[in-house]
Amino acid sequence: MLVCKNLSKTFYPGTANERRALCNVNLSLRRGEFVVIIGGNGSGKSTLLNVVSGAILSDAGRIYIDKQDVTFLAEHKRARLIGRVFQDPMLGTAASMTIEENLALANRRGKTRGLGSGVTRTERVQFREMLRPLELGLEDRLTARVGLLSGGQRQALTLLMASLRDPKVLLLDEHTAALDPKTAAKVQEISLQLVREHKLTTMMVTHNMGDALRFGDRLIMMQEGRIVFEAQGPEKQALTVPDLVEKFVAVGSEVIA
């Protein structure tokens, strides 16, 4: 479904600030596979997701989604294939627009946006049904501006928007890191629900070791722009937090918890 071949990215090349963010990264995800990515600060996790989404152009390498070469496809054209949730809850939604308008924007990913109604009546019904299972009361606040919502509510809404048009790939970049533990758990639960329901091919970056062990079919650890450890299936299931800490120490990264 998603294939990354020899991806490399260096920021500010040839200067004192040179930063190798990605170094020959090879990765391929099967349809419906859920990969969890961990690694220290600055190890290149976000850069990898940004290169996949098209927010950043890699220096070398290729990206294929569903066998289509998207390496040079502009970010907004690639968006129909990709759903994204950012770490900052403010980034995923338009604060001055209403809940239903935000959802409708996402519902038109990959479609032409013309002079028809911005939110149709059928969409309104559909959105209400989609919001209800979240149990956040948002289904009764369709015309409320998103700026009025809490960080957790905004992140849940962003998740819904990201999964709306059955994206080929879902990218979650520490999307619960800015939330309090209780809200984070709730948002994480919603994420899993959506991933399962739509059988989404997913890449999730997390700082939470527990989540990294609990979720996903495969675990990847990054360090200095490289994939330094990988585990899947029974091997992943057997992993414990001390094992991960040991791996971190082995690759010389600071330990995160």
């Binding site: 907004h76 129909r80 001055s96 990913r109 013309g114 109604s117 911005g118």
Partner: protein
């Protein structure tokens, strides 16, 4: 006195159209667009020259609308394709327009429309309108031209508000709003934000061009200097409108902004009546805008301090 009031309202309605243009860039697109100082003149000059050649004033409105859209297109391309910062892109187009505007008017810096029949003249002479203007309640109004202008431009303002409200609720209008509100999110949702910015700039400047056309038809002249300070006048009107009449929805904001423009003209008429020198007006406007821009921060500060004092009181300190 009634003539002063009707004059202020008529001029205010013309400026309402310009202010709605400013609102689209400043509030919806989050793009401080200085192009309009040149666009307003381009609209005025286009209509003026066409009218002296006998083109129908109604067609002139459309021509100025189109020329305005073109001005917005240029700034949009400078910004999105050549990556020139927003403020500078607008200034560049505006400066360039100065030369173009003089050429449009046939190599003069001003053009008089005395002797040509403007849209307002024609409108005032329609049989039905004549009857309305002759009604007893308008007995005190000496300048019937102002009354005709109020009705005519009032209708145009209502149409502009309807057009903007409709457009901003369409699917494409929503993507323009998303682009202004959160460009990262817009891109992630597959919106071509460069195109959306260009469309927003074109609509805004088209309205400013239309305003320029009505201004020249109302004043019966066009002058290459008439755009100077228009961005500040637009901002002053916009802020006065929003503060007094609210901005809870798109429609509400548009109506508020239109009333703001009328009120601004009324205030100016009053201070002139009170004896302020015409050349001091710009200073007056600049100070008004500075105060208006500062007031939300000031209100916040006062609230913060009050809360502090109150909490201290509660704690028994």
């Amino acid at each position: 006195m009634t003539d002063i009031i009707t004059g202020a309202v008529a001029l205010g309605l013309v400026w309402a159209i310009v202010t709605i243009g400013v609102w689209i860039t400043y509030r919806i697109l989050d793009f401080p667009d200085l192009t309009i100082e040149g666009t307003i003149v381009a609209g005025a000059a286009t209509s003026a020259i066409l009218m002296t050649h006998g083109v129908s004033p109604l067609l002139c409105l459309l021509a100025s609308f189109g020329v305005g859209a073109l001005c917005g297109l240029i700034t949009g391309i400078l910004h999105t394709q050549l990556k020139i910062p927003a403020l500078l892109a607008g200034i560049l187009t505006g400066i360039g327009l100065y030369s173009i505007n003089i050429r449009i008017m046939g190599n003069t810096s001003n053009l008089s429309l005395l002797g040509t029949r403007t849209l307002i003249d024609r409108f005032a002479n329609l049989r039905g309108i004549k009857a309305i203007l002759g009604l007893g309640i308008f007995e005190n109004v000496v300048n019937k031209q102002n009354l005709a202008a109020i009705i005519l431009v009032g209708v145009v303002v209502v149409m502009v508000i309807a057009l903007c409200t409709w457009f901003l609720r369409t699917s494409y209008g929503c993507s323009v709003r998303a682009t202004g509100s959160n460009p990262d999110m817009a891109r992630a949702q597959g919106i071509n934000i460069d195109a959306a910015k260009i469309v927003g700039l074109m609509l805004s400047n088209a309205l400013v061009g239309l305003g320029g056309s009505l201004l020249t038809q109302y004043q019966s002249y066009s002058d290459v200097q008439m755009g100077i300070g228009s961005i500040v006048i637009g901002l002053a009107s916009l802020i006065i409108g929003e503060v007094l009449f609210g901005k809870s929805s798109t429609l509400r904001s548009l109506i508020a902004v239109a009333f703001g423009a009328i009120l601004y003209r009324a205030i100016i008429a009053l201070v002139i009546q009170a004896g302020m020198r015409a050349t001091d007006l710009r200073l007056f406007t600049a100070i008004t805008v500075a105060i208006a821009l500062f007031s939300p921060t000031a209100i916040q500060q006062v609230k913060l301090l009050r809360g502090r004092v109150k909490r201290r009181g509660d704690a028994g300190l």
